[in-house]
């Protein structure tokens, strides 16, 4: 006998439509995504308002510590604090928002509070990252940022030579370049599908375990819940780190041309110290 996991009130693969504003259908994941965004904005807005030189508010203290930790991490992966600070707002927003969206799927009431749209009950809320549309949008956002900044820094010719390097009469170089371009497209697929697959698969797993365990669902889902918290953290961290890595790989490296000039000046004090 096949257990109908998704016949009995489970979530479907696509987000369900609640209502539509004109031609635009509003799905339950969009609504919950907006709520999550409002929560994150409110939390960090409050922390930013309470932030001062000597923070008296506990929220501001923890948020500042967290932001500082992420900035240190980014400075390490960019290898340059100034460069990291340039892209830091985007990366921190990606991390915090994805983390909040992942965690929001574990809250009680998500998917269980239903709404009767056309006679069939539909979950009113659905975690924002369990919809492939939203993770694809995130991947497009992050990869578009990478390409736009790389084009601005390197120019069209430099960007072209980034893929097709060396002598272009050699067919091997063209083949390698085509492979690189294909990998660029593949990044979009893997970045979006990984986040969606892990979070959605985790929620489906929770649902399946709860149904298999019957009366002992409260005990059986507890370890899966911890697993989900771990995966949510890892996936949010991974998305941020992969975006940072793509940025580092696409932008010109230090010592190439623009940053070659300050280097001798920076080396001067060391030389003096060695003499003295």
């Amino acid at each position: 006998m096949v257990v109908p996991f998704f016949g009995a009130g489970g979530e479907s693969l696509a987000a369900e439509k609640l209502f539509s504003i004109g031609p635009l259908p509003i799905t339950n994941s969009m609504i919950f995504g907006l709520l999550t965004a409002a929560f994150v904005l409110g939390l960090f807005g409050l922390a930013a308002r309470a932030s001062s030189l000597w923070p008296k508010s506990r929220l501001a203290f923890w948020c500042e510590n967290f932001v500082d930790m992420v900035l240190d991490l980014m400075a390490e992966s960019f290898g340059d604090r100034k460069k990291a600070q340039r892209f830091f707002p985007l990366l921190l927003t990606l991390f915090v928002f994805i983390l909040a969206s992942n965690f929001s799927g574990l809250l009680p009431g998500v998917q269980t509070i239903t709404y009767n749209a056309d006679g069939t009950p539909i979950g009113l809320f659905r975690a924002w990252t369990t919809d492939l549309n939203s993770t694809l949008a995130l991947a497009v956002l992050s990869l578009a940022t990478v390409h736009i900044y790389a084009l601005r820094e390197l120019g069209i010719v430099g960007r072209f030579r980034h893929y097709f390097s060396g002598n272009l009469l050699n067919p091997m170089n063209i083949f390698i370049g085509l492979n690189e371009v294909f990998g660029e497209v593949l990044r979009l697929v893997t970045l979006s599908l990984r986040l969606f697959g892990v979070i959605y698969g985790g929620e489906a797993l929770l649902f399946a375990i709860a149904h298999l365990a019957g009366n002992f669902a409260w005990a059986a889902t507890l370890p899966i819940m911890f697993l989900e918290i771990f995966f949510s953290l890892v996936q949010a961290y991974l998305f941020m780190m992969l975006t940072a890595t793509y940025l580092v790989m696409a932008l010109p490296h230090e010592g190439q041309e623009s940053e070659a000039a300050p280097k001798p000046a920076a080396a001067m004090p060391n030389g003096r110290q060695a003499k003295a």
Binding site: F6, R194, G197, V198, Y200, G201, A204, F231, V234, Y237
Partner: protein
């Protein structure tokens, strides 16, 4: 095919065969992490953060398997 195959068998094979690859991958990562921390314990934090990235990349494969398992 004349004979009917039980879908539960296919689902069991999906998760069983699909878990082999990620399991080997996570095992290799774990072995490498233990070896690296044993060699230089002072950068344990850095090694662990890299290891978590790698575990996340490998676990995505298992997530795809779960996705296929639960949605078909």
């Amino acid at each position: 095919m004349a004979t009917e195959i039980d879908p539960a068998l296919i689902k069991g094979l999906t998760i069983g065969l699909g878990a082999i690859g990620p399991a080997i991958g996570v095992g290799l990562i774990g072995a490498a992490v233990v070896g690296a921390v044993g060699r230089n314990p002072e950068i344990q934090g850095k090694i662990l953060s890299t290891a978590f990235i790698m575990i996340g990349l490998v676990d995505a494969v298992l997530a795809f398997v779960l996705l296929i398992l639960f949605t078909t």
